[in-house]
Structures are given as C-alpha cells and as structure tokens.
C-alpha cells in the first residue's frame, strides 16, 4: 500500500507541468543557497592549483590572510567594474544592459548541463537571453524566478540547446551533446581544429556575433562521408565560472 501511494506521487510529479515542478527544485536551491555556494567554492578551490607559501608564524599568517582577503575583495570589485565598463564601451553593445549574476550551482555532468544563478537585479531578465561567461556565450536563460532573484541557464552543451552559429564562414546549427561538448553536423567543408565558432546575431537577443566555442574535432559524417561532423568545446572553462553576465537587449529604463 505504502509503495503504491509513493509510486502514485512519483507519477503525479513526473506528469505535472515542468514549470510547476521546477519551482520545487529552485526553492531547494533558494533555501540552501548558502551551503550550496560554500560547497561550490570548495569544489572550485580543490580544482585550482594553489601556490605554496613560505612558513610563517600563526599571527603573521592570520594578518597575511586578512590582507589577502581585503586585496581579493578590492580586486574583484575592480574586475566587476572593469568588466561592466568594458562591455558598455563596446559600440555594438550600445543600448544593451548586462545583468551580473553569481553561479550558485553548476551541473556539468555528462548527461545534462545547467547553471542556477542568483541575479543582483532580476528586472529585464527573460527566457532565451544569452549568457556570457569569460566574454563568450555559455548558454541561454531557460527559466526566470523574479520573486527570489534566481534564474536557470541551459548551457550550450546541454542536449536541449540549439544555437545558430558560424564557423569559417559556414552557417549551421550547433546542438549540445552533453559531456561538455556540442556538435555541428553535416558541414560541407573540413574545418581546422582550434577554429573559433561564433553564435550568430539574433534580433532582440544578440546584436553582434560572439564566440561560443572552439573546434576540437572534425570527422567525416558516418552516413554521408562527403560531409563533416564538428565537435565543439566551450570557449571558456564553464566548471570554473563563479559569475556570469546576462545580455539584456533594449532594456526598459
């Protein structure tokens, strides 16, 4: 009996509208954002090689850490300012707004790829907007929850992602394949490994082509050997991203 009731609950959740059930997932992230972000930071620290310092006394270490923390905070604030002023000073971005956001959780496992972000200002955020990480397109907004200033980003490597791109003058569609890769299928010409892949302009969402990835492999299509299949990897290390910027075209003043 217990088993039947639980199964029934599971099926109700499965077939309920996803925009309704995804609120449970986001509510969890919202409630536990603090331990989640600490865990994410720990993972980032573990993945980054730390330089060794000379041995110093404990009080000196504390003082040095205090100074380092202050310097880091200052550097980060300066970096944010430069990033924003740099983006605003590019002529193609005239009239465009950028919403900076922190990455709370990053799901980059082999099957699905998604980020949950905390926006400092959620006004103007909408589904479909492009997301920048380290000056390259990393994905698009898939869901916005303005009440709790959170949004979900589907990365370009997610199997649901399809983005019009251009590589070596050839226009095509790039589909996410999971495992931190995307694929461009049925390309007429062979493309060099390392070539840049650009996301095409999309009125209302992107006013200028922007780099989205780099060609990592170019193999002949198995069904049609006269065509080529290109494997693309993101232009930045998405796993290491701590903050991102959402491109808001024609923001409402």
């Amino acid at each position: 009996m217990l088993f039947t009731w639980f199964m029934l609950t599971g099926f109700i959740l499965l077939f309920a509208p996803q925009n309704l059930t995804s609120k449970f997932q986001l509510a969890f992230v919202h409630v536990f954002r603090w331990p989640l972000s600490i865990g994410g930071d720990l993972a980032l620290t573990a993945q980054t090689q730390q330089p060794l310092t000379g041995s110093v006394s404990r009080s000196e270490t504390q003082y040095l850490n205090y100074i380092a923390n202050l310097e880091k905070t200052l550097a980060e604030e300066r970096q944010k300012f430069e990033k924003l002023s740099g983006l605003y000073n590019t002529y193609v971005w005239e009239g465009t707004d950028f919403a900076l956001a922190d990455v709370i959780t990053a799901n980059v496992d082999g099957s699905r790829s998604e980020l949950t972000i905390a926006c400092r200002k959620s006004a103007g955020l909408a589904e479909g907007q492009f997301v920048l990480g380290d000056e390259c397109i990393i994905g698009r907004i898939s869901d916005v929850f303005p009440q709790i200033s959170k949004a979900e980003v589907v990365l370009v490597t997610d199997p649901t992602s399809m983005i019009p791109i251009e590589v070596e003058g050839l226009k095509n569609i790039m589909k996410g394949k999971g495992n931190n890769t995307a694929k461009i299928e049925m390309v007429k010409n062979e493309v060099k490994v390392g070539e840049n892949v650009f996301a095409l302009k999309k009125p209302g969402f992107l006013d200028a082509p922007m780099i989205v990835g780099k060609v990592s492999e170019c193999n002949r299509n198995q069904k049609n050997p006269s065509l080529w299949d290109i494997t693309v990897v993101p232009a930045c290390d998405i796993e290491q991203l701590e903050d991102i910027a959402v491109i808001i075209m024609n923001p409402q003043k």
Partner: protein
C-alpha cells in the same frame, strides 16, 4: 529507524551532491549509496519510505531533469533490493559494492528513460555516464557504510536481515 538523523543525513548528502560534487563531470552518486545502505540495514517498510524519500531528494537536485523519474526509479529498486535482502543477506563489502553498482546502473537508466517519456532529450553518451557513475559509487560506497552506520546508531555486529 531514527528519522531525524535520517532527515539530516539526506539533507547533508543532497547539498554535497549538488554543490561539492556537481562541478565534477565524473562523480559517485552518494544518494544511491544511501539507498542501498537503508535497503539492506532496515526493515522493508522503512526501506520503502527511505527509498522514495532519497529519490525525491535526488529529483530536487536533479535539475534540469524534471521531478519524478528518480523518485520512481529509486523507490522501485530500493524496494526490490529490500525484498532481495530478505532472501540474500548483503553483508560483505564486495557484495555491497555489487549491489550499489547494479542499483546505480538500473536507477540511472530508468530515470533517464522516464525523463525521455516526458519529452526530455537524452544525451548520446548517457549509458557511458551512468556506467562511470555506478562504478565510482560502487568503489566509494562500501567505505561510507561504516560512518553511515555510526551516524544512524547501528551496531555493526548486529548487521543482518530485519523484517
């Protein structure tokens, strides 16, 4: 079953799975390890409740997958494992590792199939991902059983079948 300790443990493991481990492309599934632990250390009814609860927790952090598939698959295979444990005692570490490997493999495949039914796309390499995750879980899992038993106040000498 100490339900308060169970809730705290599930919460902690869920947060660790979503934050600390999420940034690695290959990682063990700690929730499957918990599933097997509760299925082989508690009574069948406790195992059913804990299996579905762990599945629900896995769904909560399973975004962008929809809610439901993991609750169903964890519940189904957790229950089956609990019934299997009434017949075959899974006490030794290699058997525990095997139980984790098979459970992880089956829950992973069923979750993605159920998600696919609702229109979710399936990655081309999904079976490889599920296999690697199962392998990692089965290596790490049996070593986590001891601290888990300590946390749940189970005396290791009394491990065995419970009805």
């Amino acid at each position: 079953m100490r339900w308060f300790r169970f809730a705290l443990l599930i919460l902690a493991v869920t947060v660790i799975q979503k934050s600390l481990l999420a940034r690695w492309s290959t990682k063990p599934d700690l929730l499957v390890v918990l599933l097997v632990f509760y299925a082989i250390h508690y009574s069948t009814s406790d195992a059913i409740i804990s299996s579905f609860t762990i599945g629900f927790a896995a769904d909560l952090v399973g975004s962008p997958m929809p809610m439901g598939p993991q609750m169903i698959s964890f519940g189904l295979f957790g229950t089956l494992l609990a019934y299997l444990h009434r017949v075959i005692a899974i006490k030794r570490m290699p058997f525990q590792a095997l139980a984790i490997f098979v459970s992880s493999l089956l829950t992973g495949v069923l979750s993605h199939l159920l998600a696919h039914i609702t229109g979710e796309p399936v990655a081309a390499n999904i079976y490889a991902v599920v296999f690697v995750t199962s392998l990692y879980s089965s290596i790490v899992g049996p070593f986590l059983f001891l601290p888990l038993a300590w946390w749940m106040r189970i005396k290791t000498s009394r491990f065995g079948r419970r009805y």
